[in-house]
Symmetry: C2
Subunit: 720 residues, 2 copies
């Protein structure tokens, strides 16, 4: 159990890093009075939104917590509440640091690009380390309290249900936060652009636009708070699922001590990678070439490369004899007999080195996905440039080419993930895939740092514009922001890629649970998951439908809310001509309020979709056929949602990022630059890409996980 | 075998209907000299394109035919050639009747709406009946020659391989024709719109636009010839797969006579539905309300309702004792022993009535898909109107709403298909699904008639415009064309819906073949198709990728070719100012030639994707693992491609249709009408929807089938 304590200490180190760095950031100058006034309005709006969002979520959360308590008991209920509350706190802290450092980044950028990058990146790093640190603390803490303090066996149902419920709490909050924040940010962004840039012909972030504060609030509540909650969820679910699967598959054959070690390994893996990530943050420095992406990559590469020996070290700590199969090491299959012993020997036929190599697969997959996403969303390569070139012939061709790129962008990540599945499975079966996914997520601190820096620079640019700072400041924040578009797409690709692996692990846990519960849930024999079973096909189709329907809801919500913003702004312009003349101040707060209400209203129904789908499918199908048919359909639903969701999410997030940067590429003076017909077409593409990449696409990730977790909880609830 | 003869006679009746109707159509007036001149240019372009497209396809076709001969033998090679040639002929005839009746429709519309509808619909009906008739003749003819004339047992591998190869030939041609035609029509359409409507500000179909003839040629080679080849393929594959699956599943336990009857049933089902479709054509008449859609629906409903007793009658003909299980009726399971006899009894535990009810499921699914597609693409309902309303706030919101609708449009068809699968499977297992699909396709003659009438009216409108006919003529052809947008979307939804069922049947055939070949293809036991097998997951992901990659190719091709059209037209305007002044004639032929070359060049690579994917996946995966792993991955690939393809295809075809009609809705005077900002935004949406609905989306259907058929042929080739 020293490993769990070590993991807890690493988690605390992350929190400590966050506190110290925040203090040093807040000590920096917050700029002149005008800048602080604008930043104050953004802070106020963001806090008001999150407050109301959390109130709405709390209502759902309390109902679900009661249901968890009734159907599953006290420990799962506590796990659920811990996961939910910490997920919410992570989002809140992320937003809070972001709204305080945006103005400081603007101020720092007026000194130099390096200073601007320093403030913005360290702000991102605070969020990143807190996401990883709090996530690790929650799982390790729960495990420590239950196993070490309370002395419950690590594979006891109390521990398993507690971990699953913890993940459920995190997922539930995260889907609301991702979707609500995503709708807010893009409704404000699209609305502001349509009525400002397109109709009134005023620049982006012009203080005369009443929607401009809402747009900046959106960056913080969507791209920052929503993203943080999402990655917190991804971390908790992936690490938790790895521990649960280990317990379910190996629990019967291993001694408690050895099982405890194996279940602690994912925790300490997360722990040491937090340390390598913290070290990595100190390497984010501009070189001679002033290449921002290069500076960020240096930090990422240092974290990833240091992770290799660190992971080797902790694997050896957990399993000192690295080269002997776990099954052989256990030697205790003597308490299993006949086919059980055979089954265990087959399942546990992997060594510590196999686990280490599986984790290397996870690191390689992460690296490749980062690289592929950069290729598809950076201004330096064919995809973005082809969209920019297509803008010359108009709005239509811009959108056609953007859609073509978004479809194409799914190919290489899919091949990488397929290769990762095959290789990791080859090392250690489904447990190998679980450890690959865990290693991917272990780098979350650094990846979130790269991402969370984006909204800070985006806001900094807005503040510079509104406060009338020198154009050179805006040029610097724009340069930082363009890279932010790519890193934001990278995080989403990474999250959904890890989700594909995590979903397989969750499916593994689901099938193990079916075996475990057996007759308690009405099963007379094994469930037929063969593709020849029509209920499996139906499940796959229904699962594949979920991301489409969810995407439709998200896109419609943004379109509708953006339309309301347009009407509100038009009304303000009409009622007070002084706004356009620059003599009177627009009513920013009313627009923020309008978007707040719309986002909260629109997030509820789609978020319930993945929550209810497995339950409805189970009861409908088992009413038509048998419980076994119902479980087969639900299992297939879980894979259908990932098979389809992977493509929907990658195409939307990469495509959206490419559209955004195609516009930036034209604004850099290509194809006629700002104000040209090509630029207008590129603005259309960017508008279309907005809800793609920041609302519908990223929310698919928590959606996939929540569907899987609900299915697992459904089994436990049916058995109770 | 009298049933097969009867089916052949029904096929001949369809051909006869085609010949007689064509004659009467050609006897109608072809309008004035100017109209004939324009129509002549379209005819010339269409024939030139198809000639060159077929030459290019023939090269691939001859290579594949040789490969089929080498790996599978003479009969499959002949089957392949028959399927390929007839598919080509169907497309050619469809194009030919379309280019001759377009001008006659324009002339007739100058008399009355009813006359215009008469000519256009009967032209569509000629294509429809020839598609169904020739498809039926090809399968029934091959079956007759092999079984009746040559006396080969109906479940002999010669018959099975021959039928599969026939389907393969049809599919191979159809994917090229669909994609090549789709690229041609949309490159010309998008290019003409961008440079004419948007840049030069001249109306659609203005004779001064050098791309205008190419646009009209495109309607004929894409929406007509490509569509006809596609539906020919769908028909042959579905009916053929039903016969093959029947032979594979029931061949061992049934007498040759009873098996022959069961295998002939799909043929006579197709036969009688041709007759009900021919009767239905006579009911297409405008009522007092002048409702065009209503007139077309009358024809469809009559065909479908008459099909009910007809199907009952033919089922009773094939299986006189309708209420006893086939397995019991066979009574010959005596020649099977032990588990074989048990397995057969379980498989054949369905009666004639069960088959009849399965076919009713097919008819209901068809009706529901028609109804749902109309809801999503007609100007009368929320989806299209929401896109039109979103156009008021600009290009961006139009596209966002269009994408939202395209995602949403997948939901109801998926639920209908899932329900269809469950119910049909409940009646008669996988054979029930096969007969449901067959019944769907049996109505193809009428469905194609409704569709093929669209390009005729589209062309008629163009000719009326270019020949300077009275505006009232254009109004009538526009009214006919708006309905054409919906019927075109309906056909595509119908084709892809039936493809979902057909793909399950083909997957069933694939798994039966795996059992049949067994050790001959390196298998030591059953293939593990469980979702717990990682190779199944990898196969599902790779299969799901295919429609995305294919869609990306298609969209890129259209964008690129349209860009070339824009450049060509700009050059023509620049070189000869007399074109815009109306004093000199643009060089239509050079634009047609340019699009022809581009379409043929662009269609090759994407069409090879589904052809090669199963082969590459098999060899790569079995090199990594075992042949069983390879076959598991390929099997999952087949389902992955349908699980993903269903959504890609429906979202693209319904979404595209909705965008098109949203534009038409605005042109009807809503939201500011023609020339308003909303109209400009709607034109952008229409442009984006063009390659969605007419290039990438519909080509997914043959793509799914070809992947499945190649997999089945791969097994046969490996066994040889």
């Amino acid at each position: 159990m020293t490993m769990v304590v070590a993991a807890l200490l690493c988690g605390l180190a992350a929190v400590l890093y966050g506190i110290i760095t925040s203090r040093s950031l807040l000590a920096a100058s917050a700029g002149n009075e005008k800048m602080q006034e604008i930043a104050g309005a953004i802070q106020e709006g963001a806090r008001a939104y999150l407050g109301r969002q959390y109130t709405a979520i709390a209502i759902v959360g309390v109902i679900v917590a009661v249901l968890v308590f009734v159907f599953l008991g006290m420990v799962p209920a506590i796990g659920f509440v811990v996961g939910a509350v910490l997920s919410g706190i992570t989002g809140f802290i992320g937003m809070n640091i972001s709204v305080k450092t945006n103005v400081r980044t603007a101020q720092a950028a007026s000194e130099s690009l390096q200073s601007g990058l320093n403030v913005a990146f360290r702000a991102g790093a605070v969020t990143g380390m807190l996401v990883a640190g709090l996530a690790l603390l929650s799982i390790a803490g729960l495990f420590y309290v239950l196993v070490t303090v309370s002395g419950i066996a690590p594979d006891d149902r109390t521990v398993i249900d507690g971990l699953v419920a913890l993940a459920f709490g995190a997922s539930l909050i995260s889907i609301f936060a991702r979707l609500g924040g995503g709708i807010f940010t893009k409704a404000a962004d699209v609305g502001a652009d349509l009525v400002g840039k397109v109709e009134a012909g005023i620049p982006e972030d012009d203080p005369r636009n009443p929607a401009v504060i809402a747009d900046n609030v959106g960056d913080n509540v969507g791209d920052c708070a929503g993203m943080a909650a999402d990655l917190f969820e991804t971390y908790v679910v992936t690490v938790g699922a790895t521990m649960v699967l280990t317990a379910l598959q190996l629990g019967t054959g291993l001694s408690d001590g050895m099982l405890g070690n194996l279940m602690s390994l994912p925790l300490i893996v997360g722990g040491v990678c937090i340390i390598t990530s913290i070290i990595g943050t100190f390497f984010v420095r501009l070189g001679k070439s002033q290449n921002i992406m290069g500076a960020l990559y240096k930090g990422f590469l240092v974290s990833a490369i240091l992770a290799v020996p660190a992971l080797y070290f902790v694997t050896q700590w957990a399993i000192p004899d690295l080269n002997t199969d776990i099954g052989v090491l256990a030697g205790s299959t003597g308490n299993l007999t006949g086919t059980d012993a055979q089954a265990f020997a087959a399942t546990a036929a992997f060594s510590g080195m196999d686990l280490f190599w599986s984790m290397m697969v996870g690191l390689v997959v992460t690296g490749l996905i980062v690289w592929i996403t950069e290729y598809y969303t950076s201004v330096n390569y064919r995809p973005v440039r082809s969209i920019a070139a297509a803008s010359v012939t108009g709005h239509g061709t811009n959108v056609i080419q953007g859609l073509a790129i978004s479809l194409e962008a799914t190919a290489l990540p899919t091949l990488v993930i397929c290769a990762g599945i095959i290789v990791a499975y080859g090392f250690a079966g489904i447990i190998g895939i679980a450890f690959a996914a865990t290693a991917m997520l272990a780098l979350a601190g650094m990846i979130v740092a790269l991402d969370a820096y984006g909204p800070v620079t985006d806001n900094a640019g807005g503040i510079a514009e509104m406060a009338g700072l020198d154009d050179s400041v805006r040029d610097k924040t724009d340069a930082l922001d363009a890279v932010g578009n790519t890193t934001k797409a990278v995080t989403k690709g990474y999250a959904i890629g890890s989700a594909a692996l995590a979903a397989l692990v969750l499916f593994g846990a689901y099938t193990e649970d079916l075996k475990y519960f057996g007759s308690a849930i009405g099963l007379e024999g094994p469930v037929n998951f063969s593709l020849s079973n029509p209920f499996v096909i139906v499940g796959l189709l229904l699962g594949a439908l979920l991301p489409y329907l969810f995407g439709a809801f998200g896109m419609t919500a943004v379109g509708r809310a953006a339309g309301e913003v347009v009407k509100d702004v038009r009304q303000q312009f009409k009622n007070d001509p002084g706004i356009m003349a620059g003599t009177s101040r627009p009513n920013y707060a009313s627009t923020v309020d309008l978007v707040t209400k719309a986002a909260i209203k629109e997030m509820i129904i789609p978020s319930l979709l993945p929550l209810l789908a497995p339950i409805v499918v189970y009861f409908v199908i088992s009413a038509i056929g048998t419980p076994a048919d119902g479980f087969a359909a639900v299992g297939a639903l879980l894979l259908g949602v990932i098979v389809s969701g992977l493509f929907v999410a990658i195409s939307m997030t990469s495509g959206g990022g490419a559209w955004d940067n195609a516009k930036k590429y034209i604004e850099d003076g290509n194809h006629g630059g700002k104000g040209s017909e090509a630029h207008k077409a590129a603005v259309t593409g960017d508008t279309v890409g907005d809800p793609y990449k920041d609302t519908a696409g990223p929310a698919v990730n928590p959606m996939i996980k929540i569907t899987n977790i609900v299915a697992i909880l459904l089994l436990a609830a049916l058995a109770h």
